[in-house]
Amino acid sequence: MIPTILFYAFAAVLLVAAIGVITSRNPVYSALYLVFAFVQSAVLWLLIEAEFLAITLVLVYVGAVMVLFLFVVMMLDINVEQLRQGFTKYLPLGVVVALVVVIEIANVVWFRSEGRAFVTPDPYPAGYSNTKELGSVLYTDHVYAFEIAAVLLLLAIVAAITLTMRRRPGLKQQDIAKQVAVSAKDRVRIVKVESAKE
């Protein structure tokens, strides 16, 4: 009973937050609504006892990705008028994309699940650890796919860094290793001072 109420409450807030993402005028608000939506969906995952996924969602998306997102969005100077200019021109394309997404969702929700009732899964026995189960599946059955995904991510990191590495000639840079290696006796003079008394 209580989990059901919680599910509908959090799902409702999630929908409101998701609508907020696309309707707010201020991009910072959109990003914050997205953060809110992530947290709500993490709670939904918690309700089906997938605590590893839920916490990882908060850790990775809310704690790292969205911080960088906000970082960028706050510094952008977005001209809303300029963005709106193409709105009517791209409207038909947007409508088509939206329709395709709606059909896909309908396909999953109505047609593929036809005849099957949506039931709450049975709660797992005490001592069941979602984290452990996920780990043992990832590192045994799906170990190659997992490793390939890891290498792809590494590749993306290297590519992103390469794109931003520009070596301009004649640039004056600090040699930080040299600065760090400076010895204390060149800079610091120890002076003995009598201590304070109350």
Binding site: E51, V62, V67, M74, S129, Q179, A196, E198
Partner: protein, 358 residues
Amino acid sequence: MIDMLTQLEPLWLMVPELIRDVLVIVLKIVVVMVPLILGVAYFTYAERRIIGFIQNRLGPNRVGFHGLLQPFADLFKMLFKEVVVPSSSNRFLFVIAPLISLIPALAVWAVVPLNDEFVIADIDAGLLYVLALTSLGVYGVILAGWASNSKYAFLGAMRSAAQIVAYEIAMGFALVGVLMASGSLNLGQIVLAQSGTGIFSWFWLPLFPLMIVYFIAGVAETNRAPFDVAEGESEIVAGFHVEYSGIGFGLFFLAEYANMILITALTSVFFFGGWLSPFAGVPGLADTWIAAPSVGWLGLKMAFFSFCFLWFRATFPRYRYDQIMRLGWKVFIPVTIVWIAVEGVMAALGIGPWSAAA
């Protein structure tokens, strides 16, 4: 007294079970929170006194005996000051930002075990929960900086965001080492995995580089000196909280100190055996209270690391921003990755304290 309690038992059983559970949880939270808030209050006093002595002055010693009432005097002063909301700032975010930085710092205590039995929520993914919540605290700083509509505050927020993202990775990697050594994500299990022959069975010894990285990253994560560029009073006035007055500033202050106490508690739990006694394996002390695990040992360890925080602040000059980034990305992350590999090899060869558990 005992008679009275046994008479009360039927009354207690009359209460519906749901309400009983809630009452017990609330009581547990109070038991953790009251000492924590008091600890924060006296941490501020200790900071001013200790740094005073380090810098050859006395610190506050006028309010109460040796200045012991100073934290309360400060609190009342902040409570009675006007909260000024800057014009054309974002009012809602401006008000909520201090709360966002305070709440995660307190919520993490739900999974921190104080001894063998006492922990508010004994969850399986405790370590992940700690990481997730500590990463939320940065939103308070960023939102405060943005909502203040001030260039100084904004610069502070930007610095803080970049710094926290950089050090969180090193922190996470250091904790990967801990969970490899203990074989569990549950904080209580992590402490129990360190039990044995006292101080030498704790993880600080086999995971020494990770311990150093974790603690320094913790100092950076809490925006404390020498990593306090988010405040940087000589460059950007007071950074992200420059526009906050009265209790808004007080909440940021509270959050900073609560975060510091949290880092000391987590360092004790992950690397220094939590509530375990350092004299557990010493012959001759085996059955005395000195060798018995207790919450007092956790308190002592936390007190020591708290002192380290103040010691660092009084001793080191502030890092330059590019040096902070270099330390985080180019020194700490490689160190942790190398040590995780070393640990893997040691575990595979059966060397080290964790081989018995596996």
